[in-house]
């Protein structure tokens, strides 16, 4: 009888402990993040960048260009309600584009322009060695973009439509040669006990 009285509290304690147990391990990079919400996940970024890279490579202005155009990045504006490291976003785009570009375009690192100018000046002053003077390349195209969303909440249900909009602009004429909006929609229903 005494043992039977102990069973329920012990069972409840075990259940509570099980609910709190965690785990650890490495997972593939495109695995869904464990936390279920409608916000940005690493998988979303990767998918968007892969699609965009394929679209850009197929552009006639790039595919049929006599010489691979040079592209400089302008900022990606976060106009959404999500926390987004826009620098990381741009770096991911650049990496993916370089991997998929097959030599179709070349990227300029304007973020490092000050360091580059300093190095050039030191070389020209003879203070450090040089393998030969080169021209500083101008940009043929600018890549810029914005991230927006529409977030709706109705009781326990939340819907989030993310929009990643990118465009290529001719750096000489300001003509928009390409623009595309990638959309992704997520929905969750929170558990009955959450608020």
């Amino acid at each position: 009888m005494a043992i039977r009285k102990m069973v329920m509290p012990v069972l409840l304690t075990a259940l509570a402990a099980a609910a709190g147990c965690g785990s650890y391990g490495r997972v593939p990079i495109d695995t869904d993040d464990n936390v279920k919400d409608t916000g940005l996940e690493s998988k979303d970024l990767l998918t968007t960048v892969e699609i965009m890279a394929a679209d850009m490579v197929a552009l006639p202005e790039i595919a049929e260009a006599a010489a691979p155009p040079t592209i400089a990045f302008l900022e990606v504006e976060n106009a959404s309600t999500e926390y987004i490291d826009t620098n990381l976003f741009l770096e991911d785009i650049r990496t993916e584009l370089l991997q998929n570009a097959r030599g179709k375009f070349r990227f300029l690192d304007r973020a490092k322009i000050e360091a580059i100018m300093k190095e050039r000046n030191l070389k020209r002053a003879g203070e450090i060695t040089t393998s030969g003077a080169k021209d500083l390349l101008g940009a043929d195209l600018f890549l810029t973009g914005s991230i927006r969303n529409i977030l709706r909440a109705d009781g326990r249900r939340e819907t989030n439509m993310m929009s990643y909009r990118f465009r290529l602009v001719d750096a000489e004429s300001s003509l928009v040669i390409w623009e595309k909006d990638y959309k992704a929609k997520k929905q969750i229903t929170k558990a009955w006990y959450e608020r």
Partner: protein
């Protein structure tokens, strides 16, 4: 029997010894942030159901130390979990066990404050896109968890979302945010049009967080009461010129008490009624053995509300803004209890830099014996020490302007009720 006493005494001593979290809280409230951080870093190594709470406490200390990069990283992890859903299993467990068996995710006002701090950090960095995301998340967390008439009353988040929108050249969005802020806090002069050109914003965290207690049948529901603190407002000075008296941006007790009840509260109430019923049955039963069993069942029956809370939060957040020439200033903050100056609450901060190419956001926290110090440079920029742009009018220090504590429950005239779209940022170029 004696052989059992020693290990039993050791167990008892271990159970009574203060935890790393307790030590951290004690250090925090005596303003020893170095020690507090050490203890909270230790408690944060424990995962489990208090993962988020440990990180919120750690982030609070990091924020007070001015280590905003570290605080940002910890807060972003915490807010992601607070926003997400954990699934039905946890809820089922808390249904049959104590409510505190589930992962701590905070009440709506705690979620709002976590995002508000993220917004402040990004604002200090000049990252207005992410800052606005933080302030909008704060507004959404408050809205999602509030009774309908109290939605959209987290005024200070709306105010800062408006400032971010100006920086992003989204003037229509800015106008809407400022209207919402003014509707929620109509007496706050710093939300007015004339104050939006100010380049220095002081965010003043006053007092102690609301205190969460159990109420209802069997202590099954939670309720909040005012935390114990004296300060009701503050005056801010720059190089001995008065900049202004603080005005409230948000009252966290009001936010806590206007959270809506949900299904889980109904179930908790039912659990509480069952517990009290068992006690009543134990009293009314004639058979002593049955009475004892019923009483034991009542004692063991887990109906108690979850009283875990982020109690390092302030009680209120006030704001002061001003226009100052770029340069370095000595900032003095006087805190008041109604009209009475609290002498041992005065803070003096030296070497406070006002930038010439961005807003300067300064966040302070009240506390008895917290003297101030020399401000570290949190943003790039150089400048010679200069005088305030306009000499401030002298104000009687023993009769500060009373802070407005009105909360607007209704939208401003001409404005419709908040739509179901809680965060709309899509806008035609």
């Amino acid at each position: 029997m004696l052989r059992l006493l020693v290990p039993a005494a050791m167990l008892l001593a271990g159970a009574c010894a203060p935890s790393a979290r307790d030590l951290g809280r004690q250090a925090f409230f005596r303003h020893d942030y170095t020690a507090a951080r050490e203890h909270f870093e230790q408690s944060a190594q424990n995962g489990g159901k208090d993962y988020v709470l440990h990180r919120l406490e750690l982030a609070t200390v990091m924020f007070e130390q001015g280590d905003y990069e570290a605080a940002e990283a910890v807060l972003l992890k915490a807010t992601k979990i607070m926003r997400g859903t954990s699934g039905e299993l946890e809820g089922t467990v808390s249904l049959i066990a104590h409510e505190s068996a589930k992962q701590f995710k905070g009440d709506p006002f705690e979620k709002a404050m976590a995002n508000f701090y993220c917004g402040l950090i990004f604002y200090m960095k000049g990252d207005y896109g992410n800052a606005r995301a933080g302030f909008m998340q704060a507004r959404m967390a408050d809205k999602a968890g509030s009774d309908e008439q109290f939605q959209d009353d987290f005024a200070i988040a709306s105010y800062f979302a408006g400032r971010c929108s100006i920086k992003m050249h989204e003037y229509d969005n800015a106008r809407v945010f400022f209207e919402r802020a003014r509707a929620a806090q109509p007496g706050n002069r710093y939300f007015a049009e004339e104050a939006l050109d100010d380049n220095v914003i002081f965010v003043l965290q006053l007092g102690r967080s609301p205190v969460k207690t159990r109420t209802g049948p069997g202590g099954s529901l939670d309720d909040y009461s005012r935390g114990h603190y004296r300060e009701t407002g503050a005056n801010v000075w720059a190089d001995d010129a008065m900049l202004g008296s603080s005005a409230p941006g948000v009252d966290l007790l009001h936010q806590a008490k206007t959270s809506s009840r949900t299904v889980k509260d109904t179930i908790q109430t039912a659990k509480g009624v069952v517990k009290e019923g068992l006690f009543a049955a134990a009293v009314m039963t004639d058979d002593s053995k049955t009475s004892l069993m019923l009483a034991l069942a009542a004692l063991l029956f887990p109906s108690g509300a979850d009283t875990r809370q982020w109690d390092l939060l302030p009680g209120e957040v006030h704001v002061v803004s001003a226009r100052l020439k770029p340069g370095r200033y000595t900032i003095r903050i006087d805190f008041f209890e109604e009209n009475r100056l609290l002498q041992d609450y005065e803070q003096v901060w030296e070497n406070v830099e006002v930038l010439d190419d961005a807003d300067t956001l300064l966040v302070f926290r009240s506390g008895s014996g917290k003297r101030g110090g020399t401000m570290g440079v949190t943003q790039a920029g150089t400048g010679d020490t200069g005088a305030p742009a306009e000499p401030a009018e002298p104000v009687e220090t023993d009769t500060p302007e009373p802070a407005s504590t009105e909360q607007s429950a209704e939208p401003a005239a001409g404005e419709t009720n908040p739509p179901s779209i809680v965060g709309t940022t899509d806008q035609e170029d």
